[in-house]
């Protein structure tokens, strides 16, 4: 297959955002008549690489060749002119326009008197027919369609220009099993017609179903390019997740020595907790003093479960008990009153408040619990700040600066301090170490171990499985929106144990909905 010339050849691609290298020396080659999957966890650089290919992000170093010819700089217009088309998620279409308008927008057929609507509808119908949508009336408003058909309309929009390269970024995230099958059939059909397809999905089974070749990225770097037939699931997962630095291994043996088996009444118990479309009903128990790791890939349900437990999202099934009392978690505020504190994976969007100072960020949650009319006195604030300066190795000079000026690691610590100030009984940390330097990582993980020692029930989520294995007493494994098992951590448990567990679970179908 390799003697065929690639349509697109990207070499040594480097992209920086305000001085931070988000993509470092990455290669990617797309061949005609092949589905190429781009794999990696959140923040691995997949979207950045797609942005570089489609011209929406400037490339600092490296080159893009199309049919062997250098095409630099590749802007949006040039990328489109070269026949690279992107399928947007259906949520990016315009619900108030008709199907035909959505398909043809930007490529309208024009007559002597402006846009020729009749010709446009005909052309749209033609492209839709390629996708098996012969019966769809192009005059229907998009909002009347199901998500799956909308997604196919999005594919149709990209196909209007008869692209040589088609980029599909998470095209299946809002589809159910039969809809996924339809879409994958269409993808295979396009491949057979010679289109080079770049496919991004966090559903591993779908990727193995459709991909011929895979490129794996991790933390902005290229891990490698593989033929799908020569790679098994566990290889792929461990390549995506990577390994951690030696320096943290000491903590692992320390944690194993203090291994804690929960007994007595659970601090938090949830039964059949779920929400349609994000998490199948799940049972879970957390006890005083234990660290429970949630392991799974991005989109497996690990974050979704954490959000339901922390009140960030309202569950539509199941019940939660705290210390044996049934509770309703209508909001994160309500959860905080039950002494359940959640830090979400979106540090800048849902964590720290960039314009406020570190001090204000730290006192915010405790102050919100007390209500605005009972302000913390200067003395109380001082004592609080003092405690966390020391516990989390924060620099005193940072305390009165806006947190937007501080590093990612410091911001994570400040968020942790905010939650600890409320003296939680259950602490849920979703990716507390993402984008954090090694020193801050160690500080945060040590603190987590210490908190468990003080009797807090901690949930620890990380896409770095090493971290989960290092810190957890118990590991809950999730895949495709459901819990597939639990492991009691011990010397025999390694990253591979979890990876194999995820890879071995084949009973889930393509989108993870349980089959009836």
């Amino acid at each position: 297959m390799n003697d065929i010339q690639p349509v697109v050849e990207m070499t040594g691609i480097t992209v920086e955002f305000s001085g931070v290298r988000v993509l470092d020396d990455v290669d990617l080659a797309l061949y005609p008549g092949e589905v190429h999957a781009l794999m990696g966890e959140n923040g691995a650089g997949k979207s950045t690489l797609i942005g570089a290919l489609t011209g929406t992000l400037p490339i600092l170093e490296g080159e893009v060749r199309i049919e062997g010819e250098e095409r630099m700089p590749i802007g949006v217009a040039r990328s489109r002119a070269e026949g690279i088309a992107t399928v947007f998620q259906e949520t990016h279409l315009s619900p108030h326009l008709t199907v035909a308008e959505n398909v043809m927008i930007g490529n309208e057929v024009r007559g002597a008197f402006g846009i020729d609507w009749k010709a446009n509808r005909a052309r749209a119908a033609e492209v839709l027919a390629l996708l098996g949508l012969n019966d769809l009336d192009p005059r229907m408003p998009l909002s009347a369609l199901t998500p799956a058909v909308k997604q196919l309309v999005a594919v149709a929009r990209a196909l209007v220009v008869e692209p040589r390269v088609l980029v599909l970024d998470e095209p299946t995230s809002s589809l159910d099993a039969s809809e996924v099958r339809t879409l994958l059939r269409v993808v295979r059909g396009l491949r057979d017609r010679g289109v080079a397809i770049l496919f991004v999905s966090h559903f591993i089974e779908q990727v193995f179903e459709v991909a011929d070749r895979m490129t794996v990225l991790r933390e902005g770097r290229l891990v490698g390019e593989y033929l799908a037939a020569e790679l098994d699931r566990s290889d792929l997962i461990s390549k995506m997740l990577g390994e951690d630095i030696e320096a943290l291994k000491a903590l692992r043996s320390e944690r194993l020595a203090h291994h804690y088996s929960a007994s007595g009444k659970p601090t938090l118990r949830a039964s059949a907790l779920g929400r349609r479309g994000t998490l199948d009903p799940t049972d879970i128990e957390l006890s005083r003093g234990e660290v429970v790791g949630f392991a799974g890939l991005h989109g497996s349900g690990r974050t979704e479960l954490a959000r339901l437990m922390g009140g960030a999202e309202r569950a539509d099934s199941g019940e939660i008990w705290v210390d044996g009392v049934r509770v309703q978690l209508r909001s994160p505020g309500a959860a905080l009153h039950q002494r359940i504190a959640l830090s979400t994976e979106d540090l800048r969007g849902e964590g720290i408040i960039a314009g406020l100072t570190a001090r204000e960020n730290i006192v915010l949650a405790l102050q919100a619990m007390r209500g605005w009319s009972r302000p913390l006195s200067r003395g109380e604030q001082g004592a609080l700040i003092e405690t966390y300066l020391e516990a989390l190795h924060l620099s005193p000079s940072d305390i009165d600066r806006p947190v937007e000026e501080l590093s990612g690691g410091t911001q994570q610590k400040i968020l942790l301090a905010r939650l600890l100030a409320t003296r939680p009984h259950v602490l849920i940390l979703d990716e507390p170490t993402r984008g954090v330097d090694i020193g801050a990582k160690l500080d945060i993980q040590r603190r987590v171990a210490q908190l468990a020692g003080e009797g807090v029930a901690v949930v620890f989520i990380s896409s770095q499985l090493e971290e989960v294995v290092r810190l957890s007493d118990r590991i809950v494994v999730l895949k495709d929106r459901e819990k597939i098992g639990e492991l009691s951590n011990g010397p025999g448990v390694t990253v591979d144990t979890i990876v194999e567990m995820i890879a071995a679970d084949l009973d889930g179908d393509l989108d993870g909905e349980p089959e009836e």
Binding site: P332, L336, T344, G355, A368
Partner: protein, 354 residues
């Protein structure tokens, strides 16, 4: 609000860095222009009854209602919202109090009762805004636009479409009286502004408002109760507008249903912006809003004093405000700095080339 200054020089430096500093400069410039036209403009004399009399005193008196609505607007803007209804709440407050007083005996008791009635009615209007924004989830612009339109209609219904007049000495004293030689309205407005400043900065209200204004999602995750805060803020804005309505009507003891408070919401928004509070929400500055309100009053008086024809008045006001906003804009200031730096470099380069 407190600057961490250790000496007068540093206090001055801190003041210069504040955005409302340019508001103070503008006030001084306008007064200077007036002084050029009439060297006696700034003179303040002691009137027959021992009160201070003069143009400056008139400005302060005129600023009073704007100060109140600007302070309320400042808090609403901090949450990322806007309150277009303040002018209409003013006219409703005026209509309610005049209608009540026209049928009540001229006693201090009925004056106070009218004031109480104003508080209740304006708080109710603010509460409607609050419910529309926080519970129903409408955009603040639309919610308060509804009250802005409905409010003036309500005032006309209350007075039967008439410009109602009344007599009540207590009420009149609020607008025309003097304490320590200064107009009562200005002192009351200042007192309320200081009280609001203390309320938001001594409690945690200010922090909470900034949090929801800067990042509603993150504030929610931190357990901040956005709904209750928005509700509180719109009620506060309503009550302050009610007082402003009393100030505006009590001086002539007549409510003019079509003109009282008319378009004052725009003055309030301008005052807030001049004071350095971004309409995007977040950090707010009550002192700045007060400075902005005084600037707008000064501008209004200057326009009249200079004899700018009434048809050109809005344009004149607009020019002054645009210039001020340009001076405050970080981008414009950076452009000026760069030009100055470039100008400094050019001779060097020419010297090198030669």
């Amino acid at each position: 609000m407190s600057a961490h200054a250790h000496g007068p020089a540093e206090a001055l430096k801190a003041l210069v860095r504040r955005q409302y500093f340019w508001g103070i400069v503008a006030i001084a410039l306008l007064l200077l222009v007036n002084l050029v036209k009439d060297p006696g403009y700034l003179a303040v004399s002691i009137g027959s009854s021992g009160n201070l009399v003069g143009n400056v005193i008139d400005i302060l008196r005129a600023a009073a209602p704007v100060i109140l609505i600007a302070v309320g607007m400042c808090l609403v803007v901090a949450t990322g919202g806007i309150d277009l209804s303040v002018g209409s709440v003013m006219v409703v407050a005026g209509a309610v109090s005049m209608e009540f007083l026209s049928g009540a005996p001229d006693t201090p008791g009925s004056g106070l009762a009218a004031l109480g009635l104003v508080v209740v009615v304006s708080a109710a209007l603010g509460a409607v805004n609050g419910v529309l924004v926080s519970v129903v989830g409408l955009q603040p612009f639309i919610s308060t636009l509804v009250i802005m339109l409905a409010g003036r209609g309500l005032a006309k219904v209350i007075t039967g479409g008439q410009n109602t007049a009344a007599t009540n000495e207590t009420f009149r004293w609020i607008a025309n009286g003097y304490v320590l030689g200064l107009p009562v309205v200005f002192l009351l407005a200042l007192l309320l502004a200081v009280a609001m400043g203390l309320l938001v900065r001594r409690s945690a209200l200010g922090l909470m408002l900034e949090a929801i204004g800067m990042d509603p999602k993150a504030a929610r995750l931190a357990g901040v109760n956005r709904r209750a805060l928005l509700f509180t803020v719109y009620i506060l804005g309503g009550v302050l507008a009610g007082f402003a309505g009393v100030f505006a009507t009590a001086s002539v003891m007549t409510v003019d249903v079509s003109r009282t408070g008319y378009q004052l919401e725009l003055d309030a928004i301008l005052a807030v912006v001049i004071g350095g509070t971004s309409l995007a929400g977040g950090k707010f500055n009550i002192t700045g809003a007060v400075v902005g309100a005084i600037l707008i009053a000064t501008l209004d008086k200057t326009v009249v004093f200079l004899g700018v024809s009434s048809s050109a008045t809005p344009a004149f006001k607009a020019v002054v405000i645009v210039v001020l906003c340009l001076l405050q804009s970080e981008r414009v200031r950076r452009a000026f700095r760069q030009r100055r730096a470039a100008a400094a470099r050019t001779p060097e380069r020419e010297a090198l080339a030669a």
